[in-house]
């Protein structure tokens, strides 16, 4: 009986030829990872050191295992009602973002799908107002807010963040609506649907991914911004960004505490970005390509 010689391609596969280009590619990828991840690593590193270990002429490049302490976090949670500030941030930003997107999609839909006189005026207005820095509105609004006793209220922060993004996000949404097929809209019109119903029932669901992407981007912009929360809230409606600025005082520079505050404020956004990375990339870059 002769034994059949079995070919075993998987076990005896020729080892891959070593290529220098592969090594260079891996090296390059590592450089990019290092270049993007060091800030996060560094904040985490400093936040895990005891305050006395931060002030060393030779800084710890990683926290020694026997020195790791979460004291900075404990101190922050003991001294500040962080949970409430985080809740304020999430509450205000979520509602404000929904408001912004509703208005800006409605505006962009009309600009994309209708022809009328003075259309150019609206385009110029959008471009002008999205380029003006937010700070130019601060002082007059400050007076008005004072007059209406709206200072430090949730409704004010929602209005500020909800309305300020309208031009910019109309501008973001516009190319997607311009590319939206007219046939689908016309079909709905023949069925007698109103324009608002068409936007809500047909266009928005079809552009589901765009809506999610722009929602996340607006949310992150609002959550991360400092100027309006710093000026228009002191306690009740205070959001998380001005809070972490309260840690360094004229008498004390608590690096570990500052870093721990940074981690607490940044982690929710990092999680959002990691989970919804695909949407955010497409939303941020959509304008470049269209």
């Amino acid at each position: 009986m002769s034994t059949t010689v079995m070919k075993e391609p998987y076990l005896f596969r020729r080892p891959r030829r070593f290529k220098w280009s592969t090594v260079l590619k891996i090296l390059g990828t590592l450089i990019v990872i290092l270049g993007t991840m060091w800030p996060l690593y560094w904040i985490a590193n400093v936040s895990l050191l005891p305050e006395t270990q931060v002030f060393k002429a030779k800084p710890h490049y990683f926290p020694p295992l026997d020195l790791i302490s979460i004291k900075a976090y404990v101190r922050i949670f003991a001294e500040f009602t962080i949970g409430r500030y985080l809740f304020n941030s999430f509450f205000i930003c979520t509602i404000a973002t929904a408001v912004t997107l509703a208005f800006s999609f409605s505006m962009a839909y009309y600009l994309a799908k209708f022809t009328f006189r003075f259309k150019r005026f609206f385009f110029y207005f959008i471009i002008w107002s999205l380029s003006l820095p937010w700070v130019v509105y601060v002082l007059p609004i400050f007076r008005i807010v004072d007059f209406f006793h709206l200072f430090d209220t949730h409704i004010l922060m929602i209005m500020l963040f909800g309305f300020s993004g309208i031009p910019m996000f109309a501008w973001f949404a516009l190319p997607y609506l311009q590319d939206f097929p007219d046939e689908m809209i016309d079909a709905a019109r023949i069925d007698g649907a109103s324009e608002l119903a068409i936007l809500m029932r047909i266009v928005a669901p079809a552009l589901n991914n765009v809506v999610i992407a722009l929602f996340l981007i607006r949310f992150i912009f609002a959550y991360n911004s400092l100027l309006y929360p710093l000026i228009f809230s002191v306690d009740k409606a205070k959001m998380i960004m001005p809070v972490i600025l309260d840690f360094p005082t004229p008498y004390e520079m608590p690096f570990a505490k500052m870093s721990a505050g940074g981690i607490i404020s940044v982690v929710p956004i990092i999680l959002l970005v990691i989970i919804f990375q695909r949407y955010i990339v497409s939303g941020l870059t959509g304008r470049t390509l269209k």
Binding site: W42, S106, F123, L132, V136, V138, F142, P167, R287
Partner: protein, 287 residues
């Protein structure tokens, strides 16, 4: 295209809301800059006081230096990093994942982090440079004007260069592969490919990237407030910080509104003269 009827409210309501809550107050603020704190009409008195203030000119010029320098650096570095990442094969997907991390960190937290990094006695930057024997003694990065200004710009660039990179990388990936194969066949060297094919095709997205990055840099408040509060002196103060200091901190509201007016006129001119052309081409495809 349907004829506009009642549905024009879909445009007018959002427009009116923004106009009434932001643009009208801005115009009202401009009118107020002509009065003093007691409500007496002073004409351009507030402007004359602003023009005489040295910190006013310093902050205006610094804002333009800051925006120009950080935009230029971000675009140049972002462009070449994007082309580099595009060559990484499978590493490119990994790079795309981590690239949004610096973007996600708020400018406020970034400013605080840069304080720990650039600290003169305890910072990692001085320590690394000492270990590499690039400097002999510890540098006070944020303590003196000649160091603080470049340092503030560098802090911003190190963060946002990844945003520019992402925009360039995605634009690069939409360029047709056939062109590059053609170039290979006709024996073009990488240098020619870069300057004859990639750069001309990317110029539109580069123009867009420059515009959007410039608009965000002119806004600058958050990071500098967290990092230096405009110091040392007023050397790293941007227009936004100046308006905040005069109008809110010092309570000189009228001076602040004069400053606001000047600043919004400057930015509007910039928009009309330069940025508007890029943006209107970008917006106005079917008008």
């Amino acid at each position: 295209m349907a004829r506009p009827r009642l549905s024009i409210l879909m445009l007018l309501i959002p427009f009116a809301i923004f106009f009434l809550s932001f643009t009208v107050p801005l115009i009202w603020g401009m009118a107020q800059s002509l009065y003093n704190s007691k409500g007496v009409f002073v004409g351009f008195g507030n402007y004359l006081r602003a023009f005489k203030d040295a910190s006013f000119w310093s902050s205006i010029t610094f804002t333009f230096i800051y925006a120009g320098a950080s935009t230029g650096l971000m675009v140049v570095f972002g462009y070449f990093i994007a082309l580099f990442i595009n060559q990484l094969g499978r590493g490119e997907a990994v790079a795309k994942t981590v690239m949004l991390i610096p973007w996600a960190i708020s400018l406020t937290a970034w400013g605080l982090m840069m304080q720990t990094v650039t600290s003169q006695d305890f910072g990692i930057l001085n320590d690394l440079l000492l270990r590499m024997h690039l400097i002999r003694s510890r540098i006070s990065w944020l303590g003196v004007e000649s160091m603080a200004r470049p340092m503030v710009i560098a802090s911003r660039v190190v963060k946002e260069v990844w945003f520019a990179t992402l925009l360039f990388l995605v634009a690069r990936q939409t360029l047709p592969v056939e062109l590059y194969e053609e170039a290979k066949v006709s024996g073009a060297n990488p240098w020619q490919v870069l300057w004859r094919i990639t750069t001309p095709l990317m110029s539109t997205s580069a123009l867009y990237t420059i515009t959007i990055v410039l608009i965000f840099s002119l806004q600058e408040f958050d990071m500098i407030y967290a990092l230096t509060r405009g110091g040392p002196g007023f050397s790293t103060e941007t227009a936004a910080l100046s308006i905040y200091r005069w109008g809110i901190l010092f309570g000189k509201y009228e001076l602040g509104t004069a400053y606001t007016t000047i600043w919004s006129v400057f930015v509007s001119l910039l928009v009309v003269v330069i940025l508007g052309r890029v943006l209107i081409r970008n917006i106005d495809r079917r008008a």
